[in-house]
């Protein structure tokens, strides 16, 4: 067992050791300078999963330690020279198995680094036997940490030292070193999430509220820009794209709020920006799915798919490079700065747009209800014979509703809107799958045409053929499941919930 204490800033480690030495037989085993770096994904997946990932670098060895966030107990550790970018890069199986399901495709990034002096002390009894081990991490910027490692059968020593430490003004540790270190930079853990959290007051003027929402999205675009350019992992681009798409949706869904000229101009800009990122994202998805592709094939064909992976990797690198260049060009940078300036300009006193002065809650109700009704209408028209385009149209409408509900979440009781978002999300899943499978199938066909010129072995095409068949089969299954899913979505209970939450403020027309 480990017991952790914080030393108050005024108490130096030397004084603490002197204090202990007055009362106990203290042996200083070692003292050396170390660096501690915390790692996590950009969106804090390890921390959210209850894991602290600590890399301690010092002269003899560097050690990676995974700790339980709450108890501070070590879950796994390994001696390493450096930290691989992805979970798959760890040779230690225990660490790999712990990190992979949390991190998935996200890269491990250094979050913050602290330097400290590490002291190892032993408390000895009259036989010079070790009865307690003490580890002191002495920091400059935050309180020093004292950990007591009890030795089985020597609880008295633990109790005695704990008492001396508390008398000297030490307190049991409340927060982790990571939290304290971030605090010195005015940060805290989980300060980025791809989820939208926008707090709005119901009677806020619509134009001000919409600008506020769009500013929030702009922040997300800018935060993910660098990681997209450096291709740190695929999810920077993903989050970047989602923010762009939400912005576009906001501009078109809330048209009568912002000045028309700006609205048109920036709509075009964000449409261009979305286009720009399509190819790289498609390839990213193919690469992420590659393992599934392989697993879906008979074992004997799996190896034949490797040339496809190589082809996709090369293509992804090219596409990513082109994208990165664009994101550094004035074509991208200048309009984005103008967009930022536009969002920053204070609201006009007497705007001409019809909905600019509405309380935002009214506008939200109106828009959400309207789009919801459209979904029901479009869905009702779809039969088993309807073409795929009808499902795609419906998918887009659902996405519009989803964005609106997320933008305006804070205007409604959480207990009411959250379940409805969930209902929508479940329904969107089947439409999304249907679309993704079609895109994947199409892309694979295009790639195989390109690969023919590259002297790829015939067996690879055979494997890709089986793969396309698999995808097609899944797409048909998805299509067949549509009717039931739609029934679930539009069931009476849900309709009533949507109606009571969003329709009530509007006079019936």
């Amino acid at each position: 067992m480990l017991y952790h204490f914080d030393a108050p800033g005024r108490l130096t480690t030397e004084n603490l050791i002197a204090e202990l030495s007055k009362k106990l037989n203290v042996q200083l085993v070692s003292q050396h300078y170390s660096l501690k770096t915390y790692f996590d994904s950009f969106d804090w997946r390890l921390y959210s999963g209850g894991i602290l990932c600590e890399f301690n670098q010092s002269k003899p060895v560097s050690r990676l330690i995974l700790k339980d966030c709450l108890s501070g107990q070590t879950l796994a550790s390994a001696d390493l020279d450096s930290i691989p970018a992805f979970a798959a890069g760890f040779s230690n199986a225990k660490i790999r198995k712990m990190l992979s399901p949390l991190l998935e495709m996200r890269a491990l990034l250094p979050i913050t680094t602290l330097d400290y002096t590490l002291y190892q002390l032993n408390i000895l009894n009259e036989d010079e036997k070790i009865v307690l081990k003490i580890i002191i991490e002495s920091y400059d910027l935050i309180n020093s940490r004292i950990s007591l490692e009890a030795i089985k059968g020597y609880d008295n020593a633990l109790a005695r030292v704990s008492k001396i430490l508390i008398e000297a003004g030490l307190k049991p540790s409340r927060s982790s070193v990571l939290v304290d270190a971030l605090k010195t930079q005015s940060r805290k853990p989980s300060d980025y999430s791809s989820k939208l959290t926008i707090e709005l007051a119901p009677d806020l003027r619509a134009d001000i509220a919409v600008k506020y929402i769009l500013s929030h999205l702009l922040k997300t675009i800018k935060i993910n820009e660098q990681g997209t350019i450096t291709n740190t992992d695929s999810e920077f681009l993903h989050d970047f794209r989602v923010a762009v798409r939400r912005t576009r949706s906001g501009l078109s869904q809330l048209k009568e709020v912002l000045p028309e000229a700006e609205n048109d101009r920036f709509s075009q800009y964000f449409a261009w920006l979305g286009q720009l990122t399509n190819q790289t994202r498609d390839l990213d998805v193919q690469l992420i799915n590659f393992e599934n592709y392989q697993n879906a094939l008979p074992v004997t064909l799996r190896k034949d798919l490797t040339p496809l992976y190589d082809f996709l990797s090369v293509k992804q690198k090219q596409a990513q490079k082109t994208l990165a260049a664009k994101l550094k060009s004035s074509e991208y940078v200048i309009p984005l700065r103008q967009w930022e300036d536009f969002l920053k300009t204070p609201a006009i006193k007497k705007p001409t747009e019809t909905e600019a002065l509405l309380p935002i809650k009214n506008l939200a109700d109106r828009r959400i209800w309207k789009v919801y009704k459209r979904i029901i209408k479009q869905g009702n028209r779809i039969t088993d014979q309807s073409p795929a385009e009808n499902l795609h149209e419906l998918r887009k409408t659902c996405k519009k509703l989803r964005y609106l509900m997320e933008f305006f979440q804070s205007l409604y009781p959480q207990k009411k809107i959250k379940p409805l978002i969930k209902v929508l999300k479940d329904f969107q899943e089947i439409l999304g799958d249907f679309q993704d499978l079609e895109v994947q199938e199409q892309s694979l066909k295009t790639y195989s045409a390109e690969m023919i010129e590259k002297q790829v072995p015939a067996n690879t095409f055979l494997a890709m053929g089986v793969l396309i068949q698999n995808l097609d089969k899944r797409r048909c299954d998805t299509r067949n499941a549509f009717a039931t899913k739609f029934e679930t979505f539009k069931q009476r209970e849900n309709q009533i919930s949507f109606q009571t939450l969003f329709k009530n403020n509007e006079p019936d027309t």
Partner: protein, 251 residues
Amino acid sequence: MKIIAAFNIKGGVGKTSTAVNLAFLAAQTGYRTLVWDLDPQGASSFYFRIKPKVKGGSKELISGKCELDGLIRGTDFERLDLLPADFSFRNLDLVLDSGKKPTHRLEKLLKPLGDDYDFIFLDCPPNISLLSEAIFEASDILLSPVIPTTLSLRTLDQLKKFISHKKIKKLQLMPFFSMVDRRKKLHLDIMKILPEQHPDFLTATIPYASDIERMGQERMPLNAFIKNSRSTRAYLELWQELLEHLNSKSL
């Protein structure tokens, strides 16, 4: 969990040194290891600077009233614990005899420790007694240090007869030469002829060496105060040979 008893009917042949040094190597290898000091003299407790004292003495211990786990103490070395001796262990035979199924008593007491330890080394007192029988029943391996003299070999034969007479199935006797003095012609002669009579002897041998004697002053296992010497290499060879035997058996 494997239980290894360092045993010989004779005293002063290197039982304690074997138990202490091999347990240290086992822990260093990464195994969770326990030494149980069954000798009232408390020699292995002494080597680990742990007081030879057990609350309630042999009576409470054998009765099983208090669990062994509560009596175990951590040594100065990672993964290595010790169950200390107590002066009352001198009458362990009597205490065992007064209970039920005395020869299966130790086996039963040790069973709950199976999840906590990979290896348990029993440091046994000399002599052959009811306690020895209980040790034989509990152990997987009887590791027996033998000084290469004619008399030692006779006691080894006695031990073998005893074990086969008692029909203890799983126990494997593994004798090895201890305190070998290469300057003594007798030692060398015996070691030359012996493998023919006793093919079960391990090939690793522990030399007679002053650094092993020094464990008494240092009060720690040999490898904890000497990094590399003839003696440390000898114990390492003995440990590796033992591990190989265990691995080949479990395959």
